[in-house]
Symmetry: D2
């Protein structure tokens, strides 16, 4: 009920603040008998971790996952997979300067009002550090999904937008640049732009596009738990996300039915895919694609007026090492959350008929 | 697990196909001792029901709710509120012409593939008729929320967009026109446009904006069940929805942190509200506002190529009485789903501290 | 959360008071494509219904189930099965005599204190009438379970105990007498005893034994949701139940490990079955057997001292038509709840391995 | 769904095998602002831990809990409480002798059949070591419950039964002897008996009685989640439990309604308490009391015939350090599970009325 779990069948529960000894989680409901590829899990962690390139936060966190249970001789056993990730970098820091300060557009104020207490060190539970646990679970989910291919990439940074359909892009370009934009020229511009933003001590928003290919027909539950509704919730649960659209999205509102309807081919595939691979909340076998909007990071390296917990005027100024733009590191998180949604419906769908 | 329930504490479960004897539901977890205003419930049903104006479907459904339990001498008793709504109009119709046809961009194909069987009469479970049950529960939820004011309205139809901030609008205008757009002139244009679209035998999409005022601080759970994540899921679970954004939304991705951050006033309120009333997944007391994108209705009064269940070429053509544009009737549904999200977090928040 | 649902995958939610227009429920998560045998469902309802013999309550309720959704052309569609059972007998009765009275060992006092309101007519939600909905769902669950055979019978009434192991009994005898005891001589004695108890205006307790045969290996989840833990909860959720034991039960506490351990045969079966077909919370393929203790019905046809809602002395006296002993009618309820537990684990087990 | 979580509002999820690096868990939904008494938590762990007396297993486990999150400056923060308990004793042991052996009346066979794989070292997930996590959560739950007093004790070992009502006993005697029986003379006999059983290389069952005092009126949900149904499930989920009864229990089946009914005093209390403090599934303010039946431990120090995973004849013989009788160490586990049930309903009850 307190919202620290995700999934029905394949369920991830997470715990941990950015400045405790460790964060971690439990994956419950992972089927037995799966050989896990730990290198692949680690590779996903590397895509999310701080310090991976010049345009992300320079914090030093190795983000090494330690599995404590649920795996025996390399295979899942059907029992819960417990894991922890130690917080190595942040312990020693001094956070007394923000102890009583409510930073603008952070969760300081709302946590304090809701709980009457907050762990102010580095954002505590509201820190995006929590998403490291999602990437662990997502990496395992991807291994269960095998042929289903989930690919996210940065499609815009600020006003810079990659105006190409995903089908025109070469996904192998994504990991070749630190922005994770599959278009070398645009990526280079975005990178320069992010650097200039950082120089200003400012931050900028952006959009991550995600494409899911080779999806089996039939995933999703038709009423409240529509496939796109769960994808939407999953994405909106990621820190800093402000919007979600799939298929034709907001632009689809301007279309007529006669344009928007996806006409069938004889094999059940469709000539167009405004539906975004989902009809009636259920996957139809076409590619699923969606966009996720991220706001600019709230921590900026500029002085801002604010208040303290007593309502007195105060000043907030970010210190140290923060992301000037969150989307490059958000790419593996978006993929992970998509994988968690997919794997859950994939397992659940095994019992839609006897 | 099969996705026919919504909410944790105040939980709505629905059942029913558009052409069975009745649809209905159970509201479990409604606190005891609430005097219900049945007129108010009926008024909400009238806002959603078919045939209410010239620009919506002309089907004849009274949508009268019959409560079967959980209410005694006008008050809720704390036990489940069971209710049914009889299907009066549709029983006699002939649906043999679509029995084996997969209508484009409907759920016919995906239901058939998922379940191996489908009730083809009028869309069966995938019909938006199911949302009548959501309006019943939403109307009760609104009564529990008392001072919290939830207002939705049509902000665009096709390319016609009401380019005004909600604060500039007079909400009392909403119910004065059949489009439910709180701007007489724009409403009139939209109405004409919808009529012309219907004349073409076509349909058009649109956007519903929703504003929630007088929200207590502290609603929402901070990680996976963020307030906006649940609102997003709730909206995306409504038939024909393609996108959701709150606060600054997609436009916020183009802003810098220094512009986007909402600076506090001494009382904890904020000078701007790009956050959309939610920070870290928790309400901060400012207005919550969001947009919901609806695609054009898939049923058009034009011939379309399609296939039947054996993959043979076929033709589909809508018959009878359908909505040329869904957004006017979607307004109370959006409000109802918002109310269900709010009431659930409102109750849950009572136990965030002892 | 409010406790009106049972099951994870195959989930029954019920609503209804004994004196509303109808009781009913929703079965969500029933797999698609199952031909339902409505005669079999009705037959189970007949086993539970009032008035079926001289030793049960003489109320007149036909307990006819009306299915409203989720079934098409005789088959389940994978969508929720909504159903209602009208309350035909009880509406007109006068309950003003118990309006303010707390009947001893009923739920009048606790409902009033918990909710601040109660539907006093016939026990309201606390009436065992609710179990009719369980029998509907149980009857459907039984049809999914096919070869799994669930058999309950009365093994004691008051101090009269059928001291035979289930393997010595002929289950085809159960339905041949109104007590549902598979031993003609003992059944006859029990029947006479129940009649004499009724003549006294009193009631008597009893025990129902249940045996589940042909159980697949692997049902149950090993930690909190052990198969016997869910069976226990299921049984204890039935009105008037005071105890549950399975396998060796309470008597097993007096045994030594060397006696109690069930030694394996080469095929994995066991020579003895003190484990009651469950080891480590998971079915091992042996027969599951358990006992359920029912207290004497609280409503007696004798005057009892009691209090009213203001703490004043009052008198309570049962009127009309009540069960002198609940166990004969409890037999199909015990079977139904066992079926609901089994079918849920049966479906869930399909995803314990990929 | 996989059964590793307990509770709705105050939810414990556990992970861990007896021979991994650590076991642990997450407590989600603990209200914010509670000062935790860590000494009290540790004291409960000491009551459960191995090696505490001469009549329990002599394994060496310190069972030190390490909290990783959810606590700040000694207080709960409303975020999930993650914790681990390292496995210090067991890592080095050699379990190759049971690798392919199915030990009689253990979970070896059922785990292997269900999952196709099992961690054979020390029982893996089926080991009662998992209950250490329950005691952590139970100890915290007790602190929330404040005035509610939960007391368990050993009431029988084998055929030795303490034939006294709990009201005749001095609970301060419980911790004065290693058996945890609040009657010095009987405790001494039981202790001698357990020692003699151990000398035989055998094991013996027993019964734990639990009494809950100062219970607020109104806890429990009335239909499927009756207070005693959840208590029953909680107890039956503990390793080796075979039965549960509350209030009059199985003996109550032999009583007449006129004897069994609990007559009210003017203040709403009752003259007798056959109901066991629960009526209609809801606490009535009287003492709750129940009995939990434990079978003899399956691991005995005698040779037993068994089979290996291929169906070949084999021999099993316990080695090393096992409990000859589980009930003394089960006492804090029973209390912990009772506390988890109570705290969950306690929190849930805060929203039964507005």
């Amino acid at each position: 009920m307190a919202g620290n779990s995700f999934g029905r069948i394949f369920k991830l529960s997470t715990f941990g603040e950015s400045h405790g000894d460790a964060i971690g989680g439990i994956i419950d409901g992972c089927p037995a008998g799966i050989f896990l590829d730990f290198k692949a899990i680690n590779a996903e962690m590397q895509r999310r971790k701080p310090g991976q390139s010049a345009i992300v936060t320079q914090r030093k966190e190795e983000d090494e996952v330690k599995f404590l249970s649920g795996i025996f001789e390399g295979k899942t056993t059907g029992t819960p997979i417990g894991f922890i990730i130690e917080n190595t970098d942040q312990k020693s820091k001094d956070y007394s300067h923000i102890k009583d300060i409510y930073r603008p557009s952070h969760a300081d104020y709302t946590y304090d009002k809701k709980y009457g207490i907050r762990d102010y060190r580095g954002g505590g539970r509201s820190s995006a550090r929590e998403t490291a646990c999602r990437v662990v679970a997502g990496a395992i989910a991807k291994q269960l999904l095998k042929d289903i291919k989930i690919t996210a990439y940065v499609s815009s940074v600020g006003e810079m937008e990659l105006k190409k359909n995903y089908s025109e892009l070469d996904f192998s370009e994504i990991e070749k640049n630190p922005v994770r934009c599959p278009h070398a020229e645009m990526a280079s511009k975005m990178e320069d732009y992010i650097k200039s933003i950082r120089k200003e001590g400012d931050t900028i928003g952006g959009i991550v596009t995600c494409v899911i290919q080779n999806v089996p027909i039939g995933l999703g539950e038709p009423v409240f738990d529509k496939l796109h509704a769960e994808l939407g919730k999953a994405m909106l649960s990621i820190n800093a996300v402000k919007g979600f659209e799939y298929g034709s999205g907001f632009a689809g509102t301007e279309m007529k039915g006669s344009e928007h309807n996806d006409i069938f081919e004889a094999d059940g595939s469709t000539k167009t895919n405004y539906s975004g691979g989902i009809q009636g909340g259920i996957s139809n076998g076409e590619d699923i694609y969606f966009k996720v909007a991220f706001k600019p990071v709230a921590t900026i390296m500029q002085k801002q007026d604010t208040i303290d917990s007593k309502g007195n005027k105060a000043e907030a100024e970010g210190k140290g090492r923060h992301d000037p733009c969150v989307v490059p590191r958000a790419v593996p998180i978006v993929e992970s959350m998509a994988a968690l949604v997919l794997v859950d419906f994939y397992l659940l769908n095994k019992i839609s008929r006897l």
